[in-house]
Symmetry: C2
Subunit: 434 residues, 2 copies
């Protein structure tokens, strides 16, 4: 089947998925989880084939060792993924909620009801555990999905998808064609053109992938390009807390998109605190970049070349600023609108920061690393969005839903509600169930 | 100032707008409304100039009379628009609502807070009353906006925008650069490239404009291409109601996007009802299109050339279908996902239709013409969306907001919540204010 046919089939499936009762979706989740456990050996054998090929690529210098690591599945990693799927069982069904209910007039009632988006197009690189994760979120939220994986994970992805499709295939009432795996670049490019059938594209990869996707589709795109997260140390910051938070945000997992990339320090914070903070970072193997004023406090590797830089490793841009407004302005100018934090004991200054910084996450006295669907209590996340429409920040099941308006009447005509003799609307709000 | 500078200025204004108290926004709305009333003569004089030029264009056959009508302002139309602005005063502020609140752990509280989107880019044709409407919605929701109007309304648009800018300019605390008028195609094209500053594009025009915009921007787009609305008359439909609803949906305002374009009739509905319905439509000057089976009931002008057709005038496609599933399938295949209605006395059949039809509005025993922000009780609408992300159906103030996550802690590090000694999250939900 070509991509258009797969997309059309997924769209047809999506109409049925939108009406599935919670029990059917939960049964599907359980069946897929069981099947993945039952076929773990097969999956890991396929992964071994991919790893073998990847190993040769790494040896030849054509693949980064970090990519190899992300490609690698183990029985522990697979079990963790399967447990994550099972955790979705305990979350409430995001579909069918009455978000608003308004009586427009007697016997004419409008309901705003949550429903699935329809067909998702996911493009991901390397990590094969994306397949069970996304399929689980899609099953729970009643969406269909086309998944395009990287060629380096082809064997693993193929077995994972077969396992999932076989498990779903045995369930009465679960529509055929809900999921399909795409494998080539040509298929990926074609999927971006299927705006008649695909409702949302979610690229999970670097900023180059996001830019490519945005430039080549009319379908809405959910994702984030960069994670240039900031921490501002106020003149009113507690020194011990500032050190602990900067170390956590920068070093706990430097490759994460919510890791710290730029440290802004108020120049009026005691110099001994400034020195202690920077030295602590250096002791934790963080390479610092900054101007002469920073260099006067502690040795730096050089000036900051570009304040937009996302290092993704133990490197950090450092700047002295004169006040919270300068910090806010720097963040809004050079940041990526992902997650930014202020460290201060002054709650008024903190509120100013939280209100004026235009980012998905704005934190007071907490590490930027908390920006994550699991930590936020969403159960799982489909990704993190730095866009300002639809969904922002870590995106869980709710980000995979939209709503429709159901209007139930008794034959009401608009003609009766317009003109000089117009009947008035009552517009009585009734609290929805959510 | 060029478009990039205007967009950057609007972005800077947006940070301040996001923090304005409700009173300041309401004062701004009141001032703008007063100014528009005070300058009504000037505005109508400018409109007369545009109408004079347009009249020549219509005479030369270069402009449709319907465009001339939409261009025309009268003191009544202006007053209606100003009253619409004032009605926004009574609506709750959509910004700053606590949508969700979760305690992640003791002393670590996450809030999901509604906030403005930022900078809107509006592209509209002919109708100059779009300017005060959009500015009012933007003021109330705390957004900045660049507005690109059609050249046929240049004089009117210029005076309207000057009046609004002068009124806002006198208000302390209201940021400069919140609104700007763009006038040329080049400026419009440039605006579509300003994805660093513009957060959402709203084209208000035909499907050609939407297609052009989607093909030329990476910025999210909110809008609808077509309004191919359906009404399905079930075998269980009340004949009197079916006639009244079809007449209302098709003839009450045929140019509207929520007007009826395709009528689907169950073949098992009594033949005398079928004939009565079609003859009533004919009596209301509706030209019918359909196959031989339809032609056997009443004279038709010919077969339906394209089931995707949006006539926008008193023409109607008619089809006999064998059951509700065939109707649903037809609507999901040929419709525009705008608004579709079923007429039936069978509530089970109705629920099936409401659940399976994949449209922004799904109606039971009501005219499709109710799909409108004012009728839904939103106070006003920025447009109608047939997309399936962000906002769907008539879009009011809520569609101009997004949210940010505020996390307030006491120095919590992520390192304490991972690994074998991980502290558990409490994830206690506290009901938000909304």
């Amino acid at each position: 089947m070509n991509v258009t046919e797969l997309a059309q089939r997924a769209k047809n499936a999506s109409f049925v998925l939108a009406t599935l009762p919670t029990e059917v979706k939960d049964t599907a989740l359980r069946s897929v989880a069981q099947a993945l456990r039952a076929h773990a050996d097969e999956i890991l054998q396929a992964n071994a084939l991919d790893l073998q090929a990847a190993n040769a690529e790494v040896g030849a210098g054509r693949m980064k060792p970090s990519l190899y690591e992300r490609l690698k599945l183990s029985s522990e990693k697979l079990e963790t993924t399967v447990r994550g799927m099972e955790e979705l069982l305990s979350l409430p069904d995001p579909v069918g909620l009455i978000l608003e209910e308004t009586e427009l007039d007697e016997g004419l009632v409008l309901q705003k009801i949550s429903c699935p988006i329809g067909v998702l197009g996911i493009i991901f690189e390397a990590r094969p555990d994306v397949i069970p994760q996304i399929c689980a979120l899609a099953i729970k939220s009643g969406n269909a999905a086309l998944l395009k994986g990287g060629k380096e994970a082809l064997h693993t992805n193929t077995v994972l998808m077969e396992t999932i499709l076989n498990a779903l295939g045995t369930l009465p009432g679960y529509p055929q064609g809900t999921f399909a795996l795409l494998t080539s670049r040509e298929e990926s490019a074609q999927m971006l053109k299927e705006d008649a059938f695909v409702d949302l594209i979610i690229p999970r990869g670097g900023s180059a992938l996001l830019a490519y996707v945005k430039a080549n589709t009319r379908i809405p795109v959910l994702g984030h390009a960069d994670g240039v997260c900031h921490m501002y140390i106020s003149a009113m910051a507690d020194a011990t807390m500032a050190c602990a938070l900067a170390i956590d945000a920068k070093t706990q997992y430097p490759a994460a998109c919510n890791a710290l990339e730029t440290l802004l320090i108020n120049e009026n914070w005691p110099v001994e605190n400034q020195q202690k903070l920077l030295q602590t970072l250096t002791q934790h193997d963080v390479t610092l970049y900054g101007d002469e004023r920073v260099a006067a406090l502690t040795p730096v590797a050089g000036p900051v070349e570009n304040w937009h830089t996302e290092y993704g490793e133990k490197k950090l841009s450092v700047k002295l600023v004169s006040n919270v407004r300068e910090a806010i302005s720097h963040i809004n100018t050079y940041g990526s609108h992902h997650t930014d934090a202020i460290v201060t004991q002054d709650s008024q200054e903190a509120e100013l920061f939280l209100n004026l910084v235009d980012s998905a996450g704005v934190y007071h006295n907490a590490s930027t690393r908390f920006a994550d669907g699991y930590r936020y209590g969403f159960g799982a996340e489909v990704g993190i969005s730095t866009g300002k429409t639809h969904a922002r920040g870590p995106v869980g099941l709710n980000g995979l839903t939209i709503y429709k308006y159901k209007l139930r009447g008794k034959g009401q005509k608009v003609a009766d509600y317009v003109g000089p003799q117009a009947k008035p609307f009552t517009h009585k709000k009734r609290g929805g169930s959510k």
